[in-house]
């Protein structure tokens, strides 16, 4: 496997959906190629950093406005039934 193929298969590899033969080939390449190893490692970290980032909080006033709008819609819906 060459460097270009490693990049083509990177998403499947990181998602754990690469078939076992292909994964073995790719890991054999990684064992020899520092550049690809760094790209794979830092791309994995990129995903982890976003996954671990603080969730965006839902402000209470925004939530209240949503539920007020919904209650209004429920009431209108009940009248038309």
């Amino acid at each position: 496997m060459n460097c270009k193929k490693v990049i083509q298969e990177l998403t499947s590899y990181l998602d754990g959906v690469l078939d076992s033969d292909m994964r073995a080939d790719l890991e054999l390449h990684l064992a020899r190629c520092t550049d690809c190893r760094v790209v794979v490692d830092t791309t994995r970290k990129t995903i982890q950093i976003f996954c671990n980032s603080e969730p965006v909080p839902l402000p209470e006033d925004v939530r209240q406005r949503l539920h007020t709008a919904l209650m209004d819609r429920f009431r209108r819906n009940a009248k038309t039934i």
């Binding site: 998403t11 830092t42 970290k45 950093i49």
Partner: protein, 207 residues
């Protein structure tokens, strides 16, 4: 169920429970719909914020997504999860916001290559815990700024797959594209984000 029976997977419980709530809401049970809202409002608001990068737009996206899903609940046939259907409505609303507010910057077409290979331009290790180099608020600013720089077409694929944890198959349904196209956009998104984060996290920058 006996003590030796295997427990159902949590995702299966959520899915069954969700179908029950949707069914009750379709029959006119407002409390059941309210329960669905309580379950997903935070996720939908976060998705709206991440796509539009604007609180006002995110609020509109969330409100429209829930009001439209309630109004058109009879159209939901149950061939996907309710959450997937809801996310599809929210993504469409968010993309409309981007089109309206930033018509010159927005395109759903695949952007032409900028001639730069995002892969092998900058290769440098980051060290074991790059995120610990920054305080939480500073890190949030960095993440927001790099994701905002990404083309919407790639940003949405990354947010759905990697931040919201939605499967490739469901992401393809939501975006109305093939699974191969989802994988291609996801690859570009991940590589571009990696490249953009490189300047903050590379080992030589932080030692």
């Amino acid at each position: 169920m006996s003590a030796t029976d295997p427990k159902p997977l949590a995702s299966a419980i959520v899915r069954d429970d969700e179908a029950r709530l949707v069914s009750a809401a379709k029959a006119g049970d407002a409390a059941a719909f309210e329960e669905l809202v309580n379950r997903y409002e935070r996720k939908i608001f976060r998705l709206g914020m991440n796509i539009t990068q604007n609180r006002e737009d995110a609020e509109d996206v969330m409100q429209e997504a829930f009001l439209k899903s309630y109004t058109h609940l009879d159209r939901f046939q149950g061939d996907s999860r309710f959450y997937t259907w809801l996310v599809r409505i929210a993504v469409n609303e968010a993309l409309m916001k981007l089109r309206k507010r930033r018509p010159n910057q927005f395109s759903l077409d695949e952007p032409l290559s900028d001639g730069e290979d995002p892969v092998f331009r900058e290769i440098e290790d980051w060290g074991p815990s790059p995120e610990q180099k920054f305080a939480q608020t500073e890190l949030n600013e960095i993440l927001n700024s790099v994701i905002a720089e990404l083309d919407p077409i790639f940003r949405v694929a990354f947010l759905l797959r990697d931040v919201e944890g939605i499967s490739t198959e469901e992401t393809a349904q939501i975006l109305g594209i093939s699974e191969a196209a989802v994988k291609s956009r996801l690859l570009r998104a991940r590589l571009k984000l990696r490249q953009k984060l490189n300047k903050y996290f590379r080992r030589s920058e932080t030692q």
